[in-house]
Amino acid sequence: MIGTARVRRKGRRHYSTWELTATFDAVKLDGDAPNKGLSYVTAIRHAEDALVHFSYEIAPDLEPGTTFYARQCGQGGFILGSVYRSNGYEHESGTQKGHYQQYRDKLAEPAVNHAKYAEPLWGAVSQTLQTFRDMVQGGINSRRVTLMNAAGVEACNADFRYDATCTPGNPNQGFRGNVNYPPYQPPCQ
């Protein structure tokens, strides 16, 4: 069943990327079966399909061991490096306000889930397998856009100074400190 996605981590910048389409197999039944001539979707692939993945990238500077990370010292109003890093991961891949969670929530909706859409469909005897396939593909492509729109919503923790408790319109809620950019300021020099 479609409902999960593989999460990969790459490294360079902050962002998430999704490729959310699904591939499927469809057949027109042959032989002496009572359903001879009807078309069905027999398989739909998602998580194990290389064409479908959810991945995200986090800037290497946010990782421990870098100068930038060390200069986020958690004092003098500056955020702590580990908190800043954690907020970044939560925003991209987290299960509270993360893009990944937004994607998962939308995918769980029966009207959007590829498998729940495709499973009950069948094509009439007089409908060619090709037109049945094209029809199913149209529905899948449409759901892909719906998923992309849902996953692309930027929550208030898109600013990594905020954690997932942030609340729109309340600038203090979830704020964990300012970022210390170069030239680094005391006391985090």
């Binding site: 962002y15 998430s16 990327t17 999704w18 490729e19 389409t21 591939t23 469809a26 027109k28 042959d30 001539g37 290389a50 064409l51 993945h53 893009h99 029966p110 009207a111 729940k116 859409y117 009950p120 469909l121 069948w122 094509g123 009439a124 005897v125 007089s126 409908q127 060619t128 397998l129 090709q130 037109t131 049945f132 396939r133 094209d134 029809m135 199913v136 593909q137 149209g138 529905g139 492509n141 449409s142 892909r144 856009v145 992309m148 729109n149 996953a151 692309g152």
Partner: protein, 196 residues
């Protein structure tokens, strides 16, 4: 004073040589977007989409229909649309040069207010392949004649019988892993025969 007559440009998607009902189908070539997609969706193309005509005001699951969908360029630059059914485009879609895909979807909102995908198809084209695209200059329109099938749906996810709204949407994407927001038509009143 001269009178100009503008002829309606029509893209007729009625299949030609579709083969027997049980004939083979072409496997659709996918684009491998691993590491190429941004995950973000682009703004909608500067197009308007209108249901210009339906061959009936009543449809049932499994029935055929013909919809005339008028696409108009409401922007200030030409817009290129793919114009052949994806299986007629053949292979090579995932490779350069640039190629486009358009997904046409017929949606419906049933008497219970639930939205359904009633039908759809996929077009592909590339400016480098003669006769596979249509270019719309600003203000120009093209009517796509789409003969399709209303989906048969088993079980509780099927639309219910009753008054319904039908609409169309158009989604453009390309072989460089870009996708643009859907353009949606107005809603048209129909009667839909689904599950009782």
């Amino acid at each position: 004073m001269g009178v100009g007559v503008q002829t309606e440009r029509v893209l007729d998607l009625t299949p030609r040589g579709d083969g027997p009902a049980g004939g083979p189908s072409t496997i659709r070539e996918e684009v491998d977007c691993r590491g190429r997609g941004t995950g973000r969706i682009g703004p909608a193309p500067t197009l308007s989409l209108t249901i210009a005509g339906l061959d009936s005001s009543e449809y049932s699951m499994g029935s055929q229909f013909v919809a005339d969908l008028r696409v108009k360029n409401v922007g200030k630059a030409p817009v290129v649309l793919p114009s052949v059914l994806s299986h007629d485009f053949g292979g090579g879609f995932g490779l350069p040069p640039h190629a486009l895909e358009a997904t046409l979807v017929i949606g419906g909102i049933d008497a219970q207010g639930r939205e359904h995908t009633l039908s759809g198809t996929v077009l592909r084209g590339s400016p480098s392949r003669l006769g596979t695209t249509e270019s719309l200059d600003p203000g120009e329109s093209l009517t796509i004649r789409f003969p399709g099938w209303i989906a048969n749906v088993d079980g509780p996810s099927a639309p219910v019988t009753g008054e319904a709204k039908l609409f169309a949407s158009l989604i453009l994407s390309d072989n460089e892993c870009r996708t643009w927001q859907r353009v949606t038509s107005q809603r048209v009143d129909i009667r839909l025969r689904g599950r009782e």
